[in-house]
């Protein structure tokens, strides 16, 4: 199929028609974001799970499908959100390319850089744009860190650290839902915490410090699972002369609205911490944001969608930026190359961790235990 010029695909009303492929947890966030977005119409959603389709209909999807390929064949879309498990990203982008539909792909972009290359090549040939949902840089705390850093507020930063922890697919007590098995299946997702959480960290670190080089890494499993649920990566940023450590894991119980995301930049004259750019009390911050939105309604201004919940607002802002770029026929601000770059860093970390394990085995003459319960 010949590439279709972006602007020609927009509807007469200039509203962007959007389809949501996959309306599980994050897909529903995208659907609700899009439904609240000026100049965007959610025309359809697809999901194999009937309950998810029903939720999507209640949330504003005009039509629903049990198969995303059928949706892409049946609807006249400008863009689609790919919120499917990673093992379906490549195929979904291929189907979208056949339909000439731009895509906003949930992270990780693919399971491997090879798969990402295929996906990007498919998109290039079809002339469709690819955006990737790397949202940390959209969070107000991360934006605050970047602003302070770029203002030179602590001088040279020789060392930075980032930590992102949650409880992954298994969750915490009390158990309320059956945990999906695919997030812990290496074939389905390509990796564990590093691909689930670490890629977000890589993205925000390169946004801050420029290109990164991975120097060493270690992977761990606290349960006998197929993928790592803890990853630690040592990096350097040549452009800024910064040594960086990253730790991410899905082993820690999380109690929303609290989220364990810590970024610290250790500068010559002091520290920049993301914690200094968050409301001291989540609920007080949420109430303030809610009041601001109510006041905006009275003055007929647009509200900050998901205003009281900053991490959901970041997803809204990321999708809104993608939609603006598509509307303006511009490259998405976080594009396929950015998504691939985070995968390349993750793969290098896996390689180095494996080399370290092999070296340790040679020294010990024993196999390194994979599980440390």
């Amino acid at each position: 199929m010949a590439p279709t010029p972006l602007l020609n695909r927009l509807t007469d009303s200039n509203a962007l028609s959007l389809g949501i492929l996959g309306v599980g947890n994050i897909g529903m966030v995208h659907l609700k974001s899009a439904a609240a977005m000026p100049g965007v119409t959610v025309v359809a959603a697809a999901d194999a799970v009937p309950e998810n389709r029903e939720r999507a209909e209640r949330a504003g999807a005009s039509r629903t499908y049990d198969d995303y390929a059928t949706l892409l064949n049946s609807e006249d879309l400008d863009a689609a959100v790919v919120a499917l498990p990673p093992f379906l990203h490549g195929e979904a982008v291929e189907r979208a390319a056949e339909a000439g539909v731009d895509v906003f792909v949930e992270k990780p972009l693919a399971r491997t850089t090879d798969e990402a290359d295929e996906l990007l090549e498919t998109a290039r040939k079809a002339g469709i744009a690819i955006g990737v949902d790397h949202t940390l840089r959209y969070q107000p705390d991360m934006a605050g860190v970047k602003a302070a850093y770029d203002e030179g507020s602590v001088g040279h930063v020789p060392y930075a650290s980032i930590t992102r922890l949650n409880d992954g697919p298994l969750g915490r007590p009390p158990v309320e839902n059956a945990p999906p098995s695919w997030p812990l299946d290496a074939d389905a997702v390509g990796g564990g915490s590093l691909l689930e959480l670490g890629v977000h960290c890589f993205d925000v670190l390169e946004w801050l410090f420029g290109d990164l080089r991975v120097r060493d890494a270690s992977m761990g499993q606290t349960l006998e699972i197929d993928v790592e649920d803890a990853a630690t990566v040592l990096m350097e940023a040549p452009e800024t002369g910064t040594t960086i450590t990253l730790h991410c894991g899905s082993y820690q119980w999380e109690q929303l609205p609290e989220v364990n995301t810590r970024l610290r930049l250790e500068g010559v004259t002091g520290t920049i911490s993301n914690q200094d750019h968050l409301p001291r009390n989540f609920y007080a911050g949420a109430a303030k944001s809610a009041l601001s939105n109510v006041a905006s309604r009275l003055t007929r201004d647009e509200p900050d969608v998901f205003g009281p919940t900053f991490y959901l607002q970041a997803h809204y802002d990321a999708l809104a930026d993608f939609c603006d770029a598509i509307r303006e026929d511009e490259q998405p601000p976080v594009d396929g190359a950015d998504g691939r770059r985070t995968l390349a860093l993750a793969e290098r970390a896996y390689e180095l961790a494996a080399e370290t394990d092999e070296a340790a085995d040679e020294i010990d003459g024993l196999e390194t235990p994979e599980v440390t319960l």
């Binding site: 609700k32 298994l170 915490r172 599980v371």
Partner: protein, 324 residues
């Protein structure tokens, strides 16, 4: 020492009148309250497991088939105290293999949330049991036998996995509360494996009477009571006595646990025997809290958010939809 002071005579199960045996698990030099090396944990458990099982060995040695029932309801990390440490099961299996000729199985049951095979794999049971001649079995796949038991004068019908009805059972609960507050314990671990439409507070009693576990071993190496705490102790005895000890350690009153109150009946206070276990100090150290709060949004919060969103023109996050 007395672990409970609000029960009187009469026994509910065979060992109700016997004391609970306690043994300390040597954690000298252990950093952070947890040793990530399962072999090291099993080595530290060898002596205490031997001590607490000793009075039951004659009964256990006479069995053709032994079934261990750990708290493996979900793959929470054992250092949280929310499940039985597989090292305790490994150590018990090791001891039983040395002292009995019985076929040994470790049992759990799949439920609507997760298959027990998956839980067992994540917790490391598959690789652990490969060391022994034991197997992990899913009781949800097993044939069942129907039974009726009288509790407080009322009949309670149960559907019991044949393996539990026909083999000699050792139940090995963790030291944690249930979602509703009372201690999870041995009796509720057994109740989770039977089917019954009876009053939920009667089922643990009935299940325990029908299955008649030979001994219950409370894994108090790590407890969960709102936070984890290293308990470094094992307690063994009858199901209800061990549950009474667990209840006391977690700061629960027997009076508020209908199942335990019924099971204990008029049995007297539980006596805890064993060298080196400072029960009162342990009770002080173990927190008496609950499970973490649910992520499910309170209906009032969902309603308030929907009102706000309607007024402000904001979207309602999926997590706050309140089941709509």
């Amino acid at each position: 020492m007395s672990a409970t002071d609000d029960a009187t005579s009469a026994t509910d199960d065979a060992m109700n009148g016997d004391p609970v045996r306690a043994a300390v698990v040597d954690a000298t030099g252990r950093r952070g309250g947890w040793d990530s090396d399962i072999d090291a944990r099993m080595a530290a458990l060898e002596s205490p497991v031997r001590d607490v099982l000793e009075p039951s060995l004659e009964t256990l040695a006479a069995a053709d088939r032994l079934t261990l029932v750990p708290d493996a309801h979900y793959p929470f990390h054992p250092s949280s105290g929310m499940v039985t440490d597989p090292a305790v099961i490994g150590s018990i299996v090791s001891r039983l293999e040395r002292r009995t000729d019985a076929d040994i199985a470790v049992a759990g049951a799949s439920d609507e949330r997760i298959s027990v095979a998956r839980t067992a794999e994540y917790l490391g049971y598959a690789s652990l049991l490969e060391r022994f001649g034991a197997e992990f079995v899913d009781l949800a796949d097993e044939s069942r036998t129907e039974d009726i038991c009288t509790v407080d004068g009322s009949p309670v019908a149960l559907s019991v996995p044949e393996r539990l009805a026909e083999s000699t059972v050792i139940v090995v609960p963790s030291l944690r509360p249930t979602e509703n507050g009372p201690v999870a314990g041995a009796m509720r671990a057994l109740a989770a494996l039977v089917d019954s439409t009876a009053d939920p507070e009667r089922v643990p009693v009935a299940a325990t009477r029908v299955i008649e576990p030979a001994v219950s071993v409370l894994d108090a190496t790590t407890a969960y009571g709102g936070d984890p705490a290293a308990g470094n102790a094992l307690f063994a005895g009858s199901a209800s006595a061990v549950d009474a000890v667990a209840s006391s350690l977690l700061g629960r009153s027997l009076e508020t646990d209908a199942a335990l109150k019924t099971a204990r009946g008029d049995a007297g206070p539980v006596t805890v025997e064993g060298d080196g276990v400072d029960f009162e100090r342990l009770r002080e150290r173990i927190p008496d809290g609950e499970l973490p709060p649910s992520d499910e949004t309170h209906p009032a919060v969902s309603t308030a958010y929907r009102v706000y969103a309607a007024v402000a023109g904001d979207a309602v996050p999926p997590q706050l939809e309140g089941g709509r």
